[in-house]
């Protein structure tokens, strides 16, 4: 199966064949990045959908893209015959990986720069196609049966804090969601991946028929436990992250003498079963005194009378997220941390 296809009639006029494709180098690099997300998958098909030559600025994506004051060299991004330049792959990669320059590209696309608009059109089509490929990967038998199936979203360079980064991630998520609906996927991996791509708020808007995104179960007991941890929880709406480093980047340090504590531990087994978004969520990560955190972590490594020779961590390993969360809050209560 081909992993990339294109229609050469949709390329910018006069653009030279580049490494066997008529795609712009930026699109080519984005497609490669998306393929890298589904490592281990059979080569996915990521198509660059047609973008009309001379795409009009009015068809460029809406949004308040901020002018960064950067002057992009479009002769290196989308060369014309007149420019007598070849596509500069390194420069394309630089634009994709730099949130400020990527924002500038979007700003230019919405302010009359036709080459920018064409490039954005192709990038977004590729992102949607990449999202669909991710959905197919998540739906594959391999992904449903192999424990370590996951999408390494840290490979994506786009920022969730810029309008352009949010836009391209939304396109990726939209492609994923559309394909997930077509395949009638109803699994947790899809919803977790959506959360990782665009955050809980936007994923909730995109999601129509997928299971609830809430990272914390809502049974009666759990609701009581949620109230119990209010004193040690990060205030505000639930936030979920693709990694603990992302969590810390967004929320900072726990504070002097404090440490972040996962109620449901971030063990390899839990990460693969529940997904990083569910573990690295403000419903699951709380602030504890460093000494208390060490005591509780040590407790999870200890053998109790009720675990019959297993450590608490091993004993919990096969239990559901809800059961582990309930147990974790009970332990906090018995350590005198929450009421």
């Amino acid at each position: 199966m081909s992993w990339m296809s294109q229609n050469h009639h949709d390329t910018w006029p006069g653009q030279k064949r580049n490494h066997g494709t008529f795609l712009s180098a930026g699109v080519y690099i984005l497609a490669l990045t998306l393929v890298a997300l589904v490592l281990g998958c059979a080569k996915p098909t990521i198509k660059a959908s047609p973008c009309p030559v001379g795409v009009h600025a009015a068809s460029a994506p809406p949004g308040a893209y901020i002018d960064q004051g950067a002057l992009l060299d479009y002769d290196r991004l989308v060369p014309t015959p007149e420019s007598r330049r070849s596509v500069d792959e390194g420069y394309n990669r630089h634009i994709l990986e730099n949130p400020g320059l990527f924002e500038q590209l979007y700003h230019d696309a919405t302010h009359g720069n036709q080459r920018a608009a064409w490039l954005v059109c192709q990038l977004e089509a590729t992102a949607r196609s990449g999202g669909a490929a991710i959905a197919r990967y998540l739906a594959s038998l391999r992904c449903q049966t192999i424990v370590n199936c996951k999408i390494d979203l840290d490979k994506l360079p786009f920022s969730q804090t810029t309008a352009s980064g949010q836009r391209i991630l939304s396109e990726l998520a939209a492609g994923l969601h559309a394909e997930a609906e077509r395949l009638e996927l109803q699994n947790e991996l899809v919803s977790n991946t959506l959360v990782l791509l665009v955050g809980v708020r936007l994923a909730s808007q995109i999601k129509v028929s997928l299971p609830p995104l809430s990272s914390v179960p809502t049974s009666g007991t759990m609701a009581v436990d949620q109230a119990a941890i209010a004193s040690v929880r990060v205030p505000g709406a639930t936030q979920s992250f693709g990694s603990m480093s992302s969590f810390k980047r967004a929320l900072g340090r726990a504070g002097p003498g404090k440490e972040w504590h996962h109620i449901v531990e971030q063990t390899p087994g839990n990460l693969s079963r529940f997904g990083p978004a569910r573990l690295h969520s403000t419903d699951n990560v709380i602030v504890l005194d460093a000494s208390t955190h060490r005591a509780i972590s040590g407790f999870y490594s200890s053998v109790r009378d009720f675990t019959r020779g297993l450590t608490v961590r091993q004993w919990l390993n096969t239990q559901s997220f809800e059961a582990q969360w309930t147990y974790g809050v009970k332990l906090l209560r018995d350590f005198g941390i929450v009421p």
Binding site: A295, G298, S302, R304, D305, F306
Partner: protein
């Protein structure tokens, strides 16, 4: 040769050590104490009625962790005497002993408390 009284005292000390080290997360100490408790309890549980009765004397021990472990280890041959002790500990003040007692009862009630070797 270690006497029964000495073994009983060793059992008591390990039960107390298990609870004390649990409070600070010193799991290696905790787990070593657990292994010692398992070893000594095996001697009492598998040593006949007389030794089992000796273990039951710890159900009235002044130290809650000792009562907890003795009740847990005696569940298989004296549930009628062990369960009230565990229930009393589970209703006590918050702490690790209460936690362990509650969890032991939960597992017992669900029939998921695996038999001891």
């Amino acid at each position: 040769m270690t006497t029964t009284a000495e073994l009983l005292e060793e059992y008591r000390q390990n039960a107390i050590r298990h609870a004390t080290a649990s409070k600070t997360g010193k799991y290696k100490v905790v787990n070593h104490a657990h292994d010692e408790l398992a070893r000594i309890s095996h001697h009492f549980r598998r040593g006949g009625t007389e030794l089992q009765q000796t273990l039951l004397t710890l159900l009235d021990d002044v130290e809650p962790p000792v009562r907890l472990w003795a009740a847990t280890h005696a569940l298989e041959f004296a549930p009628d005497k062990s369960l009230p002790v565990l229930r009393a500990l589970a209703a006590g003040s918050p702490g690790i002993v209460r936690h362990d007692a509650e969890m032991t009862l939960v597992q017992w009630d669900k029939g998921e408390l695996l038999p001891l070797p």
